[in-house]
Symmetry: C2
Subunit: 183 residues, 2 copies
């Protein structure tokens, strides 16, 4: 009888990732509950979005933790990170767009933590001599988010193959489009 909050959040994430303008009613129906019940668990749309934000941050931080960003080469760590981001990509792009829309300025501290972790990875790669130093860690971090979001959206629309998610992002981010060697 009691609503599974986690399951509701995941359903909402899946729906809103596809259609950011979905109604509270649609969210409720998608989760198989009534609109009133949805309101009992999340005071309003803002509260729902903020809960999704917490979920997104938590999943990203989990991905960061699993990726062990400070072990081994920075390149391998980045590959692990992108792999961990794949399941969250849709939610991530939704939240990024949502943040752009409502410029409250008050970006969650969770994002700041995440940015710091990922920036640190790129910085580590620079210090190890793996990554070039003329592109700032901040830009590389944002570029990673951008590519993840773009790829998620493209894959959803079928413009690119979803199975190549990790490959496309890591290869482009690490090596770029230029052909560097051979024949």
């Amino acid at each position: 009888m009691t609503v599974d909050r986690e399951q509701v959040l995941r359903t909402a994430a899946a729906l809103l990732s596809r259609r950011a303008t979905a109604t509270m009613d649609e969210v409720a129906r998608a989760a198989g509950i009534g609109r009133a019940t949805l309101h009992r668990h999340f005071a309003g749309r803002d509260a729902l979005v903020r809960a999704l934000e917490q979920l997104g941050i938590a999943e990203c931080e989990a991905a960061v933790a699993v990726a062990r960003l400070d072990e081994g080469s920075a390149e391998d760590a980045l590959r692990r990170l992108v792999a961990g981001f794949e399941p969250v990509a849709g939610l991530l792009s939704f939240l990024v767009t949502e943040n752009q829309l409502f410029e409250d300025g008050e970006l969650n501290e969770g994002w700041a933590r995440l940015d710091a972790r990922i920036s640190a990875l790129f910085r580590r790669g620079q210090e190890r001599g793996e990554f070039r130093i003329d592109l700032t860690p901040a830009w590389l971090t944002e570029a990673l988010y951008g590519l993840v979001g773009t790829c998620a959206w493209c894959a959803q629309d079928g413009r690119v193959a979803a199975k190549d998610f990790q490959y496309m992002i890591t290869e482009l981010l690490l090596g770029g489009a230029r052909r560097s060697v051979e024949p």
Copy 2:
């Protein structure tokens, strides 16, 4: 007395690029005209957005034309293209987001033309041996859009330096983050 439609569109583009949820009233005020007048020139919000879409496409196609994508090396052509995209970046990211939001499916044929042109550039680069062939032209094209949008948004928020717009995008897109050579 007569309203300068072009100027209204540019003002709207500037405003909506920053705040995609801006009201018709806000758009009118920003353009220095009354809401009624705005409605006289653009039947509704949809019409306004579609007009902005036309403007964005036109400017992008102009940038494509100026960049002479089929002249010289593909790499240089891409640099010219990114340079031409810089002034349109804000509008471009707004339109991309707008398209994501309302999945009418009916994407303007103008975008298809643009995609085709840019994809052709990447394909030409592959055929010339400049670009790697394991990343599809379609993905490279979308990645370009994504990076342009991400960079525009970051620059607006001051997270990266706006003056490095072209450099950050072209260097990342062409060479990637990996350090390939020297000491």
